[in-house]
Point group: C2
Chain length 357, copies 2
């Protein structure tokens, strides 16, 4: 492996000094270097396939054009990887590189991950979580421009901007979709209390009823969990041995896995979906929602958009002018909400004709 060409190599080949090379290649040649030399330099650089050494650049400039992304478990869990995908798209398009460190839910590793990244002089930091959650922001994140994606600064007075999905309107629009199909008795398997997303979606669920002038049945929302078995057992409780008049005509789920469990329960009970029962998912989980039988109608989380929005905001701060701090205290609400997207597939349909309500 022969060594890479350096600016000195280029200078020698072009018969000029290193400084000239630097000036020309950084676009400040005009007015400083003779046109002729400029051409020779550019040609020499091309011939040697020269590109400046990023490490030397970092040492010199004290900026690395690297953004550190810390995640709780985005890499190692099956969820929400597209937040990073969206963020990385934006970073690359603006000439930045992202490096990802996953702490695998070990919060004691948060601080050290941040310190490691800071040590390596990242120009900015992003923290990304699986599922909306409060975050004890590692101290180090306050020392460089930083942003939160899918999590919220868990301090008395929040200091970091966050980008999150609009869960309330997600829950509301999902409910509206079902109301629009004529459903009036809708059950909601709303996930688990531990996630802040759950109550927000319930809130949207309820507000859709209110807005439609319908009574809200509080006893139709259940907090139990996020997995297939929870969906299955929840649905069995709602449907098995219950007279058709007492059964909900639709079940909304706080994620697609719950919906899988509900579909399974319906199959066991001989109920046809969506003819006898409509089922909604949430998340639009890749290769689950769209490949279920029937394919799930669901509320897609705007993962890529969230990542992109967060990275855009972060890079604006990194490259920004001096007065961004002042700005922030002024108009910036410290919060960006990205709307969810309704995806209609096959698991929802009109309320059964003879439905009693």
């Amino acid at each position: 492996m022969q060594r890479k060409a350096t600016a000195l190599d280029v200078a020698k080949r072009a018969g000029v000094s290193r400084s000239a090379v630097s000036l020309v290649l950084n676009g400040r040649g005009d007015g400083n270097v003779a046109k002729e030399s400029q051409d020779r330099i550019r040609q020499a650089a091309a011939e040697l396939n020269y590109s400046p050494n990023p490490i030397a650049l970092s040492l010199r400039n004290q900026r690395t054009r690297v953004i550190g992304i810390v995640s709780d478990e985005v890499v190692t869990s099956p969820f929400d990887g597209n937040i990073i995908g969206g963020a990385d798209d934006v970073a690359r398009s603006r000439g930045f590189v992202t490096v990802v460190m996953d702490t695998e839910l070990d919060s004691s590793r948060d601080a050290s991950a941040v310190e490691t990244l800071l040590d390596r002089q990242v120009d900015g930091l992003m923290y990304v979580t699986v599922g909306l959650k409060p975050l004890d922001v590692p101290q180090g994140m306050l020392r460089v421009p930083s942003i939160l994606a899918n999590c919220i600064d868990n301090a008395p007075v929040p200091r970091l901007h966050h980008v999150i999905p609009d869960e309330v309107s997600g829950g509301r629009e999902a409910t509206e979709h079902l109301l629009g199909l004529g459903h009036r008795d809708i059950a909601f398997l709303a996930g688990a209390q531990s996630s802040p997303a759950a109550p927000l979606r319930v809130q949207g669920f309820q507000s859709a009823f209110s807005a439609a002038g319908l009574p809200v049945r509080g006893d139709r929302a259940f907090l139990a969990g996020w997995d297939i078995d929870t969906g299955f057992h929840g649905a069995m409780k709602l449907l098995d041995g219950v007279s058709p008049a007492e059964r909900p005509t639709a079940i909304m789920c706080a994620n697609d896995r719950l919906a899988v469990g509900v579909v399974l329960a319906a199959a066991r009970l001989g109920l046809s979906v969506p003819r006898d029962l409509s089922i909604m998912g949430y998340d639009d989980e890749f290769r689950i929602a769209n490949t279920m039988v029937p394919a799930l109608t669901t509320m897609a989380l705007p993962l890529r958009e969230m990542g992109a929005a967060a990275m855009t905001k972060l890079l604006d701060a990194v490259e920004g002018t001096v007065e961004e701090e002042a700005d922030q205290d002024a108009g910036d609400p410290l919060e960006t909400m990205v709307p969810c997207r309704l995806v209609i597939r096959e698991s929802t349909g009109p309320v059964p004709p003879g439905s009693p309500k």
Copy 2:
């Protein structure tokens, strides 16, 4: 954010030269620096919370203690993230940092990701894929110690070591589990042709029959796809309207999602699992296999072990002595196979008593 302490700051505070600081802090103080000075230096370093600047170190040493991990879609897809988790564990424990770049299946980004990483002077590279597959190794990977995890050098004569799961014995042991339960008519939804894993698992499937002295029914293995709907439709074809005598008593699946589809089909048809039909998955996908109803018996992919094995091998080369190249040509088979693990849960059971075969 006040600037971090440098070696010069420490030297001043301790009243010595930078060189002394360097020697002492790198353990080469004894015999070179007076005991007294050593103490002062160490104390000053502690007081200033000094740690050497990794960027300056990189520039100086031409080594960064960073390992670059390139993946096709491990970050952004829901699969195989634990390979990176296992690799990262090992790297951290040996004082290395990993940086991950995901190309999101855009193979034209492979080369540039590798070049970017190489530009930043990573000490080694690992390529990780979702699902076993052949890889057109980016040229750059040949310039530093490199290794492949879950993929195989797709060149006439392979140059890079790879770490892969032992799919043949995985397929065999899964089949043996079912044979041991008395099943003789076992169908196999074997994934899609496009993946090299599929034929290997089929091979294991067949070899289990041969080893048991049973005839192999080649018409019982199907290549169709990897998703829930494929499993569902495959199972319907095998079971729906087929007389019990003609039905397989067990269905093996090449991944857990196929198995979900099969369970769904069984529920539709009123078949009880595992009483009427045993179902096996593959992968032990997190929060799918263990939360299905019934929970899936499956063949777990050794993801963390693969990542750990690959990183161990890579770091040995990175830190290794001079003659590793020679070594390699000698005994090293360029391949590490990690065994899969049978996980028995609830979806498999003894063959139905009256079973005709």
